[in-house]
Symmetry: C2
Subunit: 406 residues, 2 copies
């Protein structure tokens, strides 16, 4: 007997017929002799409507009222899911965050899970009742409803799986699993059977929107074995596990990309100590996340050019911050470019293999693609290129690293 947490996303719960089919998957696990707990997102579209209403009145997403309103989406789908399970002849009951309780800290809109008291949920499972947890929500110290930010139901599922010491946490979604590259761009992309937490973290943060980054970090921390799989197919998905579970490690596991990039270059900044702090301090104060940074060596030691990237959402604000500090920063002028994309090669195997970055630079060069910025981590090499070359770069790199399906 295994203990399994199943999480269903909004597209897997788009309407009553979808909910019924998802409920059948939970019932099938019980019939196979396993213990099952379910975590649900809101039905597709519901959260958007709720957020739109709040925006129309208040334009804020960090209030207790925002949380109270948007958390209803998961409350609805949890109740409907429990009814669907019961209609299949298996007992079930819904659990809202405040009922479990899922205790949170860190205020509203982006609360963090502090502790899940899973005793009652375990009680349900032990007597053959399927507990259905409304994802994305908890209860704060003031006894008000909190939420975890968009995609937070993945985090609910991983936290519950950890609290239940579950053998596996299945994340049902509208894709078959994690691919070596976006299959809509790279026709030869393959589904990966296994991938490490570290690689999945890099993939998630590089724009492969299969799992929320935070839920992967939580799974890694608590060693929760994740499976990403399709709710529409009956095939195994991709297991996200520790490195020790992967016997034969590929050097490169996948190629990711993100178009959510914008580049700002400060020309002729005085080359003296403290200039970087002078630029990035005000950006941090404005809550703007800077991703890649490159600073050239100045020719004569007096002035240099400095380039950094932010998300396109922060682009305008970042520009304002830099321009507001023009006097103290003392740069000559700005170059702004939002027509850029980031392409990344990811794999834990590159720790022990030299030449991975070199092959990337070589491949892009052969295709005539200019590299604007480079950044690396232990298991990743990322480059910034002109956006129009994105698809070309992805396909070329996919082939170059031997990832194409046979």
């Amino acid at each position: 007997m295994a203990r399994v947490v199943q999480k269903f996303g909004g597209t897997s719960l788009a309407d009553i017929e979808h909910i019924r089919r998802a409920a059948q998957r939970a019932v099938a696990e019980v019939k196979a002799g396993n213990e099952v707990a379910v975590v649900v997102s809101a039905m597709a579209g519901t959260t958007d409507q709720l957020v739109a209403w709040v925006d129309e009145i208040a334009g804020r997403d960090d209030s207790a009222e925002y949380d109270s309103v948007v958390s209803t989406g998961e409350q609805i789908s949890a109740g409907l899911f429990a009814l669907a399970v019961e209609s299949l002849g298996v007992p079930a009951r819904s659990w809202m965050g405040w009922q479990v309780p899922v205790a949170t800290e860190g205020g509203h809109g982006r609360a963090r899970i502090q502790k899940i008291n899973a005793a009652d949920v375990v009680g349900d499972m032990e007597k053959g009742t399927i507990p259905v947890l409304a994802g994305f929500q908890g209860i704060g110290p003031d006894r008000r409803v909190t939420t975890f930010g968009r995609g937070g139901s993945d985090t609910s599922a991983v936290a519950l799986a950890s609290a239940l010491k579950a053998d596996r946490c299945d994340i049902f979604t509208d894709v078959e699993g994690v691919f070596t590259a976006d299959p809509r761009i790279v026709a030869t992309a393959r589904k990966l059977d296994r991938i490490t937490y570290e690689e999945m973290l890099e993939l998630a943060s590089q724009g492969a929107k299969v799992l929320q980054t935070r839920s992967v970090a939580l799974a890694m921390k608590h060693r929760v074995r994740l499976q990403v799989l399709s709710s529409f197919l009956d095939t195994p998905g991709t297991l996200v596990v520790g490195e020790e579970e992967i016997v034969e490690q590929e050097i490169v596991s996948g190629i990711a990309y993100s178009r959510d990039e914008a580049k700002i270059t400060l020309l002729k900044v005085p080359d003296r100590p403290g200039v970087a702090a002078g630029i990035f301090g005000p950006l941090a104060d404005a809550d703007i996340n800077v991703d890649m940074i490159v600073q050239n060596v100045s020719e004569d030691g007096s002035a240099t050019d400095l380039t950094f990237t932010v998300t396109r959402n922060d682009f305008g604000r970042a520009q304002e911050v830099i321009e507001a500090n023009k006097k103290s920063l003392n740069y000559q002028s700005l170059i702004l470019d939002s027509q850029v994309a980031k392409v990344s090669v990811i794999g834990v195997g590159m720790r022990s293999h030299a030449g991975v970055a070199q092959r990337m630079f070589q491949t892009l060069s052969e295709k005539g693609i200019n590299i604007q910025v480079i950044s690396t981590s232990e298991i990743k090499v990322s480059v910034l290129i002109a956006e129009e070359y994105t698809e070309l770069a992805l396909r070329a790199l996919h082939t170059a690293y031997g990832l194409d399906a046979a």
Copy 2:
């Protein structure tokens, strides 16, 4: 300083613009120096959608999951209402039934309020924060969400007003108040300034769907002064109060009608003790509410005809029950008629005035309208007539009792 509860129905909260205007009414009371608590229904249409989803899966309205799902409608409007008040510069916070708490008993779907612990709500009001209670919902002994049946937000408002010892409970709706008759039928109908609880109860149960019957009974029990008024106009509505507050009492306050009637006549039932019990026992067992009953005296003491009415919703089932018991009831045949309507003349003044019923019979007779069944209470005379005469009867009676607007 007065303490006021304001309740807004679904049509008063149809969209964000409506919610904003309703919020302005709450803010206006605070600016006038009063203490205000608000109770909200779900936005128009929301509850229907939620009920439809539950029906599609389960077709049941008495489960804990039904309550958990449908109660989200009020949770959404309470949060949005609080945000709308705050956007007008006055502090506000939403309260769900489980947070107050509104303790209930009697299971799910049709729970009854046991006790409202209003201490925290009072705390809000005393510091100038407008508490916004999600109507229609409470929490059961098992710490699960319960609901009160359709229209239950009126009950929430009256119960809260009672717990707060409020000076008034304003029920904002889409009509101007309580009328002497349905103004869509009787053009000369007048809005009543005041009406007694007893009259309002009769009006509500006779089909004037302005207030939920149960909320009126609760208001009468706890002497909560109700006002029914339009959320779209700035005119006073109708006060529903005790008889002692009405100085000059009209003999007849209003004429009500209901088309939700169906008539069953059993021909030639043996005229012996126990026959009525034999008929109405099985109907009660089948949870069918019988309204009017008339039994004629038999000519020769051996057989009689017996007529009763039920709602049209129960008509088919009532017929089945009677036919299933044909052997023991030993009647000759059935006459079924759903083309009937009930017209009622209502007024506490008729307690002290004779001739009210006689005027009704006279008026209907002059218009050639046959009376099929009669039933009376202390403050009401009801007759069953052929449905096609409904409008004619209403207008004639409205004139006959001197209710026409000048």
